[in-house]
Amino acid sequence: MILARHADSLLWAGRYLERADTIARCVSVETNAVMHRQATEARLASRRLVQALGLQDEFVAAQVGTGPYAVMDFLVSDDSHPGSVVSAVQAVRENLRIVRDRIPVELWEEANSLHILMQSAKSVGAAAREQTGGEVSRMSVITARRGCRSLSGVMTESMSRDEGYAFMEAGRLLERSILTVELLKSGLGTGSDVFDGNRLLAFTHSLQAARRELGHSPQWHAVAKFLLQHEQMPRSVLWCLGRVELRLEDLAAAAGAVATPRRRAGALRAHLEYGELDELLGQPEAELAYLGSALAELAADVHTSTVARSSLAEVHAQFVRPGDGRGRPQ
């Protein structure tokens, strides 16, 4: 049994954990590249990353400075917007705090420790961080990546495979799929700021594995197929959807309400598994736009169909009311 509110917190804890991990990884890949490039070029690429992560509005609002490390700082240590690593870690921590009584103590303590470390870097202040040549934010990235790895380790090794786990893992994998599709978009086009295949693979933690299959200079099309359709890579959208389906199946026994997202996940998985991807990727923008919106709807479905019911009438309509056979005064 799990409270609807707790299910919601775990779903979001999973999503933010994946987000913190992905942003930290992208920033770390980008920072290495920045060091070897001209300032303007580097800045353009960083802006492209900001866009891929869906943070352009926040970027404009935050009035990010022009220093070479300002964009990195915006993505890592700026808590004025919810898309930075520090904000994502805080969201993980706040969501786990709500369920701290039901998750393994170590999971909470890892999240809390990571939050404390990230906050101490944040409290240095943007100007001071810039003066260190991005050193503080670079260290934060390392801390965050290590922290996220511990969190997923504890999650995998000590969480009971109950409903709470199902929601947290579904959240992670949905967020991962959404970000993969968005990152793939940033490899389309012809500008100097378009990410090449290797960069996309590095962003998604797939470079090493892909090199064995695709060689050293894979084209976008091959990378897209790899990241969307690979059956063994835990980073591919197909793999993620397969797992989401399994988790929704776990939940189905308890919650009939997951039937809708389950169907949606199945349909989307089948689209990737049996669809003619070569043909579909003939119009890559349209295909990615379709996948992006379908994944967003699926994520919203998992949330609303299980946890967002608040009025008693809705609850009654959906469920047989239990407790009648317990010999209580009614």
């Binding site: 799990i2 701290r100 019911r309 047989v320 239990p322 005064p329 009614q330």
Partner: protein, 486 residues
Amino acid sequence: MAELRRSDANQLAYDEAFDRDGNVRPLYAAIVERFSNFDAAELRRREGIIEEEFRRQGITFTVYGDSQGTERTWPMDLFPRLIAATEWQEIERGLAQRVTALNRFLADIYTGEGAAMADGVVPAWLVQSSDGFERNAFGVSVPHDAHCVIAGIDLVRDAEGQYRVLEDNLRNPSGISYVIENRAAMTRAFPRVWEDHTVEPVSQYGRMLRTALESVAPTGAGDKPLIVILTPGIYNSAYFEHAFLAREMGVELVEGPDLVVDEHVVYLRTIEGLVPVDVIYRRIDDTFLDPVSFRPDSTLGVPGLLGAMRAGTVTVCNAVGNGVADDKAIHPYVTDLIRYYLGEEPILPNVETYVMWEPDQREAAFERLDELVIKPVGESGGYGIVIGRNATDEELANARAEIEADPRNWVVQEVVELSTLASMCDDVLEPRHLDLRPFVITGERTQVFPGGLTRVAMRKGSLIVNSSQGGGSKDTWVLAPQGSQT
């Protein structure tokens, strides 16, 4: 080695570790010996370990009035408080006796005949005029008459070392989580101090409380009742404790909106739909519990909860209306209530308290107001208290006028010189004042949890031990009886 200062020879208060001649009391001989092997830097280092651990684990309380929602750790002093086995047995008996009588009193008021009032043990008007007296609780019976499942009784030691009851907390006493976490921290920071003592364990609280809560479930609940803890949420100062208790008991931690009442049954909103709830250990005050019956603006509570309680489908712990029995104005009558209900002499005396609506007591108090403590009954947390010996003539005259204007609202107490114990202050161990809050659990029977929360005033001479006012806490050891194995 760190300097361990004895209490002044002319200190009025009882010192727990040293007698009046400055000799170590036998109870503390081994621990004083241990601590004299550490220098100040070493003690500071270990203090750092504990602070860091508390922060990492999120053992914190939220500071109110701080928009940042700042979470702070509550300092634990390194030097433990010890209670000898024989001394504890006496306290234990006294507390069980007291809480048993208080539960009888609550049952008498709300579901009984009002016998104590009819027989003149406590004036009926005093009971009915109490802020904690709750008409909504009339006729709501609780299994085993356990109106107060969890009580925290504040004890102090007077100048002779006698334990006395300062206050009863029968509504939402907090602090138990610190008792358990302090022990864990002490174990990490001083792994070897346990070699000299056999100390009663404190890890069984979750099991003990759960058993008690199961025992008060409504009769229709079956043998595996569903228990929840109702918290105001993560911004409440005691949220850590609520989560801690849910984890220790293995029950759900819920907020008001997670519960819904339909046809006098309380349900939990889960992803599977509605699941009926049997026992609610609530950590929110009476007035926020049910917007239908109390404050309509409360968003923390559950509409219709009182109706469900009255229908007997759910047990709410502690029961509604307990505030009448821990009213400061009722406190002076508790010893008589023990005699009345149990036919026994009270084992633990009260702090001597005078009621201002009795003309004799009032006149006697007015004679020597400058030696006494004047307390408003409606306040808590030390607000509005006038300490006679520190007050100006004008303040005393004002207090006197206020008492005459509304005698129901005041009590006057003898000053208690809270006992002292060595505590870490600026690199030396110095005596500081402390109190003790043991926890008493009532289900089928009344049990006292070993030890309790020792709070210590970290400022020299201060008698204020509250966490909000710079107080700390100490690990509290009840020593096992000699020859026993724990």
